[in-house]
Symmetry: C3
Subunit: 378 residues, 3 copies
């Protein structure tokens, strides 16, 4: 990611945006935010158009959100900053999922959760190994840290999947039992997540040092501006997410996709766009530790924080609370993806073919989900 | 474990017991052994009371059994001693299971077998990592040995689970086929276990050196006394186990638990109490190798020795022999627990959060089993 | 493998065969090739006899095929030679499977594919660890390479198994959907395989150096002779395979076996005989790297090349194309076998008991399959 610091960064919101757009052309897509909002007023039934517009509009918003979070984090010092980064790292994902939750589209929510874990591991790790490996023959990385993080991710994923794994095939538990189980588990998972932050930000922060270090390449924005942007952009994401969720069902049908595919691939990729960019450029710069840290950390956050939070929130906003019961294919994909992460990080060395294998698995999952959508509603 | 050697150890049975009780207050619970036996005569229908009394009474007996075995082992030299330790290490578990087998309570037996593997890995390993990690920032251990033992445990667990893993979901095998399979497999597993003892006690004992070393901290008892105690305490465990098995069904119902939960959590914890104590104090003393060796070795013993032995014995004492067919949730929990053991031992370093994760999984399993007991009788 | 170079190798086809037979007595079994062909003319209904004759006849042919491939490879230089070795390494397996494919015996084909992966990992790796470990106390090997290869094998196996893993238990996909999925996947897998060859033969050949090195112990045959033998022996394998496939169903019934057992154990062992010999002698010579390279490489080739090729070919020669849908037991066995390979190669050290464990698992799988054949036709 080549940066041009020739132009002095202005400090007005508009100036910052213009600046950022100049630096990363992707941000120019921000023009689709007002377009999507206007089209929704004028042609509320053009579902396919609205769907496409909202997907494209979320990409630059996710990037801005990520930048705003980093800026606030940079100003507040290590502990609070890390906390912010850890909590808001999947904010886009969270806001989209909340919109889907409110519309009681549980399959979309679950598909996007499962997709986020698979995308963060197979796609983000695989792409990092491939792109890094094409530039560097063999890339060494700190395997002790990577292994530790991968192990923790594996345990976290299994923990989220316990309700799906345990239930008898022929006798699924009664909804009430499944809901009690999911709620109890979600509370426990969030406690474990909190302890994990205490571990990584306080007692053992040296293990995670290289990761946070990588985020500080860009010049942080002024504090008030960053905070303002954080609020404004989150609201915009919420607005666009509503358009997205409202149009996805009909549009997906038109485009020959299922909501599960859209959630698993599209939402997950859109939500992770900003992190993917950072991970890939880290790999190109021979800093595979950074890429692995982002990928594994973000996936663990989905499992330990975003998923249980959505279950808990569903108790307050939905008539019939959401459970942690995933369909069988999603369970398999999540377990395979985290096992792949364990294996890829186990060796301590990266080469391009490892990336090819991970990306091939990702492609196979996407293709399978496209051809063979989950049968039962959840 | 602070030891007070101020008092000369007497050599009468009673004297030894008084001595031991003074050193480890837990042994005072031995008073509940006669209480349980008396209450069983006087109030044979107070199931809940009998259940609670028998559980509490087994704890000190298990500790005494463990001490007696160690004392005999210490006197007989390395090879025979190791053999004894290896064979009698899960004697409490074995005696309780035999009582349940005789009462044809197969679900209880299988739950306690599955629970023993999960408790030894997730609870014992997790607790060791947590307690050790709270005292020492990072704990290093011999990862080559730990990895080897964890791999062997994984293969052993898979071997025991083959009948459960292979059988088609929609077409479970006929009972006769399942019994033939389980019997053949059990014989093979015990042979593999025998070879494993030959490996760890004879050809490659240096790999397991640190573990046996840890047991010799306490002063061994005189030989005849140790042998006498071994016999007497085993008989007492058998008596109390019968009370336990006779009361568990009704008592569990009263207490809102299922026999599966009782077997999985209560029996497993009671049976492992003595080893848990040793493993935890090893971890506190920064000897994580010792803790890992005890946990993994004990779990492997359940899979390769206790489980197949019970299957074989069931051919002689039960009308309808027991199989190695576990319910689906137990299979998942055992595989996840041994995979967790592989991951935890892979890195060669311990930190408190790894323990939190393992304990959280254990808590999740316990909670799930409490809310969602296995549906089909086995 | 002791070699006697006292006799000058002659260069006529017959002379070479006589020479080879003298060096490896196994080749004397080649006499069964004409016997099988003759018996098939005279007694076409002696299925059991024909089955046994064809199995025995394939063993020396497989060994010759392997030698011929190596000889051609040795003459053509590194890259092309490696390509040949990689492509023709499982030629016997491929030819037998093609014969079974033409006879629309899909269960036999799938069983032999699954069996080949399990045999290459559990049996070949296990035997190597055991035989090597009986001679050498502890064997060290390059764990970084072994881990890398094992990880790639795991991902490859998972990729092949995605259709089996994803499909809902209660709602298997429509045949047309399953076929589309399998065809698309097969094309992708072969592309990944091609990239893997580019990786191992061109960009990163130093990682695989020790493996190819081990093949050059025997004196290569002259080029024209080797090529002629390659063609002639392949044709013979095809002829004998047809006898085998034509007789297996009835013969297996007579012998109390199922086609699944025959494919999984007999075909897989026969097809791998030559490689097993090389792997085992490598282990005895304390070159465990070589054994691991052959075992893991061959298993990965089955997953990424042989299996997808058979699916694609089935579109041209069979009325109803074959899918990648395996029965549940086969899926479990393949995953367990590759996980075992990951664990065995993870430590970087071999000892005899690790071999015992792997072989025990193999025996358990064989025994289970014998007692409990797959229920549903595929």
């Amino acid at each position: 990611m080549v940066e041009r610091h020739l132009i002095e960064p202005s400090s007005s919101v508009l100036g910052v945006i213009v600046d950022e757009v100049r630096q990363s052309p992707l941000l120019a897509l921000i023009i689709f935010v007002p377009v999507a909002l206007v089209v929704e007023r004028l042609m509320p039934d053009s579902h396919t158009l609205l769907f496409l517009l909202s997907v494209v509009a979320i990409i630059p918003l996710a990037a801005l959100l990520s930048r705003a979070t980093e800026s606030v984090a940079a100003k507040t010092g290590d502990a609070v900053g890390g906390l912010l980064n850890a909590t808001l790292g999947n904010l886009t994902e969270l806001v989209i999922s909340l919109a889907a939750l409110q519309a009681v589209q549980y399959l979309l929510v679950k598909a996007s959760l499962a997709g986020a874990i698979v995308t963060n591991t197979l796609f983000m790790l695989g792409g990092s190994f491939l792109l890094g490996g094409l530039k560097h023959h063999i890339q060494e990385f700190n395997r002790v840290n990577a292994r530790f993080q991968a192990s923790m991710l594996f345990l976290a994923t299994i923990a989220v999947l316990v309700p799906s794994l345990i239930s008898e095939v022929d006798q699924p538990p009664a909804p009430a039992v499944s809901q009690t189980l999911s709620l109890g588990l979600s509370i426990l998972l969030i406690v474990v997540y909190g302890l994990g932050m205490f571990f990584s930000l306080r007692t053992h922060k040296e293990l995670f040092a290289s990761v946070s270090h990588g985020e500080e390449e860009k010049k942080p924005w002024p504090m008030t501006l960053a905070l303002a942007l954080l609020v404004v952009v989150t609201l915009l994401v919420a607005l666009v997410s509503e358009i997205f969720v409202g149009s996805v069902q009909v549009a997906a049908e038109h485009l020959g996709m299922t909501p599960a595919f859209v959630g698993f691939i599209v939402v997950a990729l859109v939500g992770a766009a900003a992190e993917v960019t950072t991970a890939f450029s880290g790999a190109r710069a021979n800093r595979l530790d950074l890429s692995i840290g982002i990928a594994l950390g973000s996936a663990a956050q989905i499992a330990l924080f975003v998923a249980p939070l959505l279950v808990i929130v569903s108790y307050f906003i939905a008539p019939d609370p959401m459970t942690l019961q995933f369909w069988r294919g999603a369970v398999t994909m999540m377990i395979v993806a985290t096992l792949a992460a364990v294996l890829l990080s186990n060796g301590g060395r990266g080469a391009w073919y490892a990336g090819v294998m991970a990306l091939a698995l990702y492609a196979i999952f996407a293709f399978t989900l496209f051809v063979l959508p989950p049968a039962n509603p959840l």
